[in-house]
Subunit: 310 residues, 4 copies
């Protein structure tokens, strides 16, 4: 590493990328509340296992967490169910689009991994565990708040309502799995929980902080909280590496070389094992649905920090 | 044809088949109201274009029409929409199981034909046409009553309720197509209508009578009512021939050699173009989901009457 | 039927269609010998079970039989193997394109029916039965000659060579099935036989004559030769009805209402059970790969003769 | 790392695993020459970027390289074609079995990644580049010899012959892609090259040595030879991580946490970026086709050395 400080590098990379690429990509427009987001926003936050923080730009602005929430519900489901979760959802790349139903039919209602929509819905059902959607959503929100050390994280009700109103494919997937007995709670309860978890608003600062335990073998390095076992932390990182970016997971593995999970809100959470957690946000998406400018920023930062695992 | 009368042949064939095979097959048990049906029931009814009727056994007993209803909703949808229906549903054999979703994904939410579940749900949406489910169900029921000349045809509410409670795959299919904008009414309205149409109870006598217009180029030969155009009657018959029995349509075409449509309640409606309509009922199903004894009876009757078109 | 003679109707329909549509469609161009065929050719021939013949246009000109040969190899395979053939190839519509390999993988190397390419290759392997390709091709040619009463039927070597040189998909299908042990002879032998059978040249007159046994329960009505059992004749007709035109089989069933088999050379053989066999030829193909003008002619002729079975 | 030397750890881990698991798994038996291999063999070799070597057991015995050869042909294809290779083969996990053809049909003959068989065949075609199979095989062998610093690496002709004689699925895949113009040389040339490259015999020592450049940004750290660009080395490592073990790639990523490529001969090459290359060999395969004991050894070694990237 150079003699530059982390803060200097984050600031430099953030500025370079923002100056050259700000506003690139296409903001998700399948629901109005996402379509309204300013395409020029760009935030970047890093927090290291030894407590250094560095950020650039709109790292203090909340955005819609969307599929990145799947990392945290997977954490919660593994806390509750341990290895028995894997009977209900696989751990391999799917090779299909995030919302494909074909593979589900071929494999009897067991989704390929926890990050495609079908798998994430099973995971949410495991987190729900017979509770009401309200209780489960509070639990997910409170878990994120605790991990992030931030009381302001909350559900955007408008987004949740819009997700439910347009979420036909998710209803299709959920009913399909229910027909295979792979959801235990009623479909409506599972999906309401799912739509609300995806509608949580979080900042880059908070997101990096919340994911830090994954960089430290499951233990929050700043509080000492044992969030999850080292094996489960390693498992989640491996799944983020191989399945974290839909049908561009291989590309992200090459470009950034780190476990990551993106969301359609334009955020990406990336783990630098043993070192740090990084969150980036820029609303414009690339052709495969990941934040275009965010991916570029992570690629540049990983290169500068020599963080790629490859 | 032989010098035996039709009535004699129907009686002979009915008795031969019933004596040798009564009770064979496996009664559908996915909902209690169907599972309770006496496996030994067997009814057969023929009505010719010149008004002869002949029957054997339990031809007077009502049974659950199930998928045979798809013939009549298809008729109604063609009355309403004409050829424009085919933009929303295909007319080719599917080569997949009745409830497969794979083909739907590959073909953008347009089901392969009106007799697989996905296609029938689109057809029901076309019949619904913005009305309430109650209005549409009354319309379907009244259409069947009028065609059958029978006021007793009615919905079995217990069956309809059970269908809705266990119909996850149909909810999955419907939501999937809704996501492709191929359903116009709300999913719940379409499926409530669909589940009710499948829960209509009808006798063999009534069913043969109701389908007679398909043997006579769309015109009820006994009342003169123009139900549908000759082209549409021919179209429906062709679809019954190529797609009427899920993934055993080719087998039925060989065995019986006539257009037909089966239902999981154990009924089969068969058309002898220019000659007659035939309905058979025996609750036990064969391995591919068609009435086992019913298929045997139709095969024997078609052979004796030299009705096979091949 | 009208008081017009068959010959008059054939002449009228032939002329009407030829005048209005001659040259329509797109001539197959995947091999030079087919691409060179004059798009304006149009032939139509009918032969009835009681020996009447009627024809129009280029019914005396030989064309490439292509997939229509599958009807005759299926006949030969059933002669040799009887019902045991169905262990190796199914009898249901495929719902996929003629050269799809997807279904083969899902179903363990057993093709859905004898008219998709994979199924026809299995049938050819059954006809080959351990002989050399030369012996088998001679046998197929001689069978056609005998059925057609025509010594001039022969293989177009240039077409056979071109088919082999460009037949990668067929090599793929054949090797795929060989890997499942569903071909007994070497792949190269099976495909050489297959490519040669498809390269036979035949006229409409000859083709209608050769298929006449299928209109008469398996017995050639003019010579009395028992070609095949009544059950097998019925089976072949049923398969022609449900699977004879790739993914437009349902459409042909509606338009013409008769069992038929088309070939990419622009020919179609159609059976009018108990009545006649009809062959039509016009090289231009429609969007689904069947002779465009040929299909129109059959539709018109079937309507005029009231031959549709629906 | 502990104060134990690498040699001590390799010896300890090797002995622990061999004592507890030697002979586990099922030796590949699809060809005789592989089926004859002694299931009790177990070899392990590590070579570090600073030139340390350590080994255990049968690290000096040659075994069949099989699919591990795909790493080296991919290297050669990238040397020749650079980024233009990716037009012909993808870089994403496939989610399908190694020899599936379904995805190929859906995606127009472009395989999902270079490590499934279809993709490796395209890569071999790129290496072949119009030469004779003999020239290409010599080139591949010589490249391996040079990278491994070992003149004894050679093709096992018996294995190559057996592969060709039983390789129907590979013939199917190759012809399929040829039909899409995604192979430039004749199918037979490509496959002969492919079968020979898979039949190379190599020892653990040689394999680890040959792969060392991938641990050092594309430069052989011991000779200074620039084998490939840093970007391409990173790319290959990323593909090994996400796609290296067929439909157990995610599992290997979790268990071992390193880029790796397995072969059906029981070998696995694993890269520890910036640190070392590791080769293990034990012929018995687990349920997903990877060396069972080899995987256990890598898992144990990676844990002891804290090599997992997650």
């Amino acid at each position: 590493m150079s003699t530059e400080t982390l803060a200097q590098i984050v600031a430099t990379v953030g500025k370079e990328i923002a100056d050259a690429h700000r506003g690139e990509g296409k903001v998700a427009d399948y629901i109005p509340a996402l379509a309204r987001v300013d395409a020029n926003r760009f935030g970047l936050a890093v927090i290291t296992c030894d407590g250094q923080m560095a950020e650039y730009g709109d790292a203090w602005l909340p955005f819609s967490i969307q599929s990145i929430s799947k990392v945290f519900t997977l954490t919660m489901a593994l806390q509750r169910m341990g290895e028995s979760l894997w009977v209900r959802v696989g751990r391999e790349p799917s090779g299909s689009r995030f919302n494909s139903i074909v593979q589900l039919e071929a494999e009897g209602g067991v989704p390929r991994n926890p990050f495609i929509n079908a798998g994430a819905i099973v995971v949410t059902d495991a987190v729900l565990a017979g509770r009401t959607p309200g209780e489960a959503v509070d639990d997910i929100r409170d878990t994120l708040r605790r991990l992030a050390g931030a009381d302001t994280i909350d559900v955007d009700k408008e987004v949740a309502t819009s997700e439910a109103a347009t979420g036909y494919r998710n209803y299709s997937l959920a009913n399909f799995m229910k027909g295979f007995d792979n959801l235990h709670s009623p479909v409506e309860d599972v999906l309401q929980t799912y739509f609300h978890q995806c509608s949580l608003r979080i900042t880059c600062r908070q997101l990096a902080r919340a994911g830090l335990f994954l960089a430290n073998e499951g233990v929050d390095p700043l509080t000492g909280e044992v969030v999850i076992s080292p094996e489960h932390a390693r498992r989640i990182n491996a799944i983020m590496m191989t399945c974290g970016h839909y049908d561009a997971s291989g590309e992200f593995a090459f470009q950034v070389g780190l476990p990551g999970k993106s969301g359609v809100g334009g955020g990406i959470l990336t783990i630098v094992p043993d070192v740090a957690a990084v969150a980036v946000w820029s609303p414009g998406l690339n052709a495969v649905g990941n934040s275009q400018v965010g991916t570029l920023a992570l690629e540049r930062l990983a290169a500068r920090m020599r963080w790629s695992v490859f």
